[in-house]
């Protein structure tokens, strides 16, 4: 019975099966194969191993993929540490002057931050924080806390007392980070050289920006060098005491001469180091709210000006060096004027006689300078000025600089006017470098704001004129200091030489008769110059003692004299009681005007 039953069942099943056989049979077969694989049997081991390999490969692929994702995508899952290290202000090296006085340094302060995601009650947190830090804007803070960011600043650089108070509030998700704050203990002194750094300690101007451009920011980006002790202090060529003295005298001068601006600098002519650089009005680097106003520019470096008669020194040096003139050459100034097409150039201090080269310099003769420049020719003039770096932008460590304004078409009339310092506007620092080369023996050294040795300067310097020409220039500058327009700066004992320069300012394309731009360049001591002094006033006015004159000798000249008197002892220039014996041997041998 039973078997028959079974048979009947089997038959029925077979009948059913035959209907579904088309699909069920392969499935069953596949299932059986899988079961075979896992049955412990030697001959099936190969596909088993293959399966394991497949599994592990998938696992490793997943891990690799995730790693690649983490490495490439800037995920939002940055930790707090990462966020803060990006946001807090990095350490900067100290800046010190040439004697090691601190000009800029970092101090530690504490900043408050918040993690909006972790703050439970944002309104309460806002209320509490603004109660403790009253100068916070409540609405702005609420908006900040409302974001989904992992990290926001609440307030930078708080006081220790405020820190204690915020700490006592005990708001979860609010914390402190120690930060570096840049301080400039000397206030406005050397503002234009130092520049300043913003609240994130990123250099914005001046040497501070230069430091960043030297790779500091890259270091910080890599998470290195966040401690000031890791960084070597940067030694500038500036002497803080001299810097202050120069600024003080210029500030007094601005008041006395009612000028709209002033600038000044002192340079070591043998090394090209800038010992002091002042531009007034200036700003406080610790609070540079007005630093970017237009009248706060660094007039030594960013302003370009027609330097007036100071350029005559370049013209004379060019003519002497080219051999077109010697110290005894003479030039007629009869008539008192020269005509170039429609333009007429007049003598300012007309003498009407024939002048020798030193006299051309002493009387600041326009005609003499023009004749000298024309004897060299337009191309020669251009080449000489290019060699003296007067036609291209001069780059120093300070990132701010201006290109000179050179006439687009340079004809004879341009050479004539540039010969006496009109028609070519250069940065005063540039002119200083050139005058430095004229007097230091003929080597042009690009000025620097970092400390530099004389050997290094010698290596970098380019010979531009002959030593004999340089001696002639020193001679005529000294002569001008003794007998000429630079007498106001002839401080006894320092053997000062100098040159005044008064240029009329260009207002709306015309030279304004009563608005002057005055410069005074002085060297000390003239027989072997060590320092070059420059003072500039923009629109100085005449005053009672000057008889209403507002030319350079009456303002920039007097200031330079005071600066020399005040700073020479600091600079280590020994006063001398007798004039040096035979300071200009070559000039004496040639019997130049003024040596007899």
């Amino acid at each position: 019975m039973k078997p028959s039953m079974n048979e009947a069942q089997a038959q029925a099943a077979a009948a059913q099966d035959s209907a579904a056989e088309g699909e069920a049979a392969p499935r069953a077969r596949r299932f059986a194969m899988l079961r075979d694989v896992f049955r412990m049997s030697g001959e099936k081991s190969q596909p088993r191993v293959g399966l394991v390999i497949l599994g592990f490969s998938a696992l490793f692929l997943a891990i690799t993929g995730r790693l690649v994702m983490l490495a490439t995508l800037p995920t939002e899952q940055v930790g707090l540490r990462r966020a803060t290290s990006n946001a807090i202000s990095a350490a900067r090296p100290d800046i010190v002057d040439r004697h090691g006085n601190v000009l800029a340094t970092d101090i530690r302060t504490v900043s408050v931050f918040a993690e909006p995601r972790n703050i439970l009650d944002k309104d309460e947190a806002t209320e509490l924080l603004t109660a403790v830090l009253p100068d916070l804007d409540a609405k702005e803070l609420r908006d900040k806390l409302g974001t989904k960011k992992g990290f926001v600043w609440v307030k930078r650089e708080i006081t220790p007392r405020q820190q204690a108070e915020v700490h006592r509030l005990g708001i979860p998700g609010v914390g402190f980070v120690p930060e570096n704050k840049r301080v400039y203990p000397n206030g406005t002194a050397a503002a234009h050289v130092l520049g300043f750094a913003n609240v994130d300690n990123v250099g914005i101007a001046g040497i501070e920006k230069y430091i960043d451009s030297q790779g500091l920011q890259d270091l910080n980006g890599a998470g290195l060098a966040t401690q000031a002790s890791d960084l070597k202090p940067m030694t500038l060529s500036i002497d803080l005491r001299v810097q202050h003295a120069l600024r003080d005298e210029l500030a007094k001068g601005i008041e006395k001469y009612k000028a709209i601006a002033a600038a000044g600098a002192i340079m070591d002519v043998n090394t090209g180091e800038m010992i002091a650089l002042v531009s007034l009005p200036d700003f406080d680097p610790g609070n540079p709210v007005d630093a970017l106003e237009k009248d706060r520019i660094n007039r030594m470096n960013v302003g370009v000006y027609e330097m007036g008669s100071t350029f005559k020194a370049l013209t004379i040096a060019m003519a002497l060096d080219a051999g077109k003139a010697n110290i005894n050459s003479s030039y007629s100034t009869a008539g008192g004027m020269m005509r170039f097409g429609r333009q007429v150039i007049k003598e300012y201090h007309g003498t009407g006689r024939t002048l020798t080269v030193p006299e051309v310099f002493l009387h600041s003769s326009n005609m003499g300078s023009i004749k000298m420049a024309l004897s060299v020719g337009v191309e020669g003039h251009k080449a000489f000025l290019r060699k003296m770096m007067q036609l291209d932008r001069m780059t120093t460590e300070l990132p701010e600089s201006a290109a000179p304004i050179v006439p687009q078409r340079w004809g004879e009339i341009n050479t004539a006017t540039i010969a006496f310092g009109h028609g070519l506007a250069v940065a005063p620092l540039q002119a200083m470098a050139a005058v430095g080369a004229l007097v230091n023996g003929g080597t042009l050294i690009t000025p620097t704001f970092l400390k530099r040795s004389e050997e290094e300067a010698k290596r970098l310097g380019i010979r531009v004129i002959k030593p004999e020409t340089s001696e002639a220039m020193r001679f005529i500058m000294r002569l001008n200091g003794e007998k000429g327009s630079a007498r106001k700066a002839d401080i006894a004992g320092y053997f000062v030489g100098g040159k005044t320069g008064t240029a009329e300012k260009v207002i709306n394309g015309r030279y304004a008769k009563n608005k002057n731009f005055t410069t005074f360049t002085a060297i000390a001591p003239s027989d072997k110059p060590k320092y070059l002094f420059l003072a500039i006033y923009d629109e100085p006015k005449g005053y009672a003692e000057s008889g209403g004159y507002s030319t350079a000798a009456w303002n920039a000249g007097i200031t330079t004299g005071k600066v020399i008197e005040r700073t020479a002892p600091i600079l280590g220039l020994p006063p001398r009681f007798e004039p040096p014996v035979a300071p200009f041997p070559l000039m004496a041998r040639l019997g130049a005007w003024g040596t007899r």
């Binding site: 101090i107 003080d248 005040r566 009681f577």
Partner: protein
């Protein structure tokens, strides 16, 4: 015998474990101490930086100038105040101290008189003589 060996081995094990733990705890303690000292040193460094900045702030030239103008009777240095070594008159010849005393008492014979006034005059001219 074997029992004894076991006891010794167990004893050695326990003591070595104890020793290892003491070393570990000491190390932890030292590490903590080091961390503390490091932190302290950092605080000191920060304080030094602040003090340095403050020192320079108090010594900034414009403040010193203001203070000097207010409290001191100093004048700006002038070349005419400098004298050369050669311009300083020579020291007089050595004086007999006892003789001087006798003279002061009115007992002595006439002694030293300032020597050669003409010579002195010549050397004392123009301190800081202008060239």
């Amino acid at each position: 015998m074997i029992k004894l060996l076991h006891v010794i081995a167990i004893g050695a094990l326990v003591s070595s474990a104890l020793y290892a733990y003491t070393i570990k705890y000491e190390t932890t303690l030292e590490a903590e101490q080091l961390q503390k000292i490091r932190k302290k040193a950092q605080r000191e460094r920060d304080a030094i930086a602040v003090l340095k900045a403050e020192w320079q702030y108090l010594n900034r030239p414009d403040r010193l100038q203001a203070l000097a103008d207010r409290h001191l009777d100093l004048q700006p240095f002038s070349v005419s105040q400098v004298v050369r070594i050669a311009d300083i008159p020579n020291r007089g010849p050595k004086v007999d101290a006892i003789g001087r005393k006798l003279e002061d008492l009115g007992l002595g014979i006439p002694t030293e008189t300032p020597k050669d006034p003409k010579d002195r005059k010549a050397s004392a001219t123009t301190p800081g003589g202008r060239p």
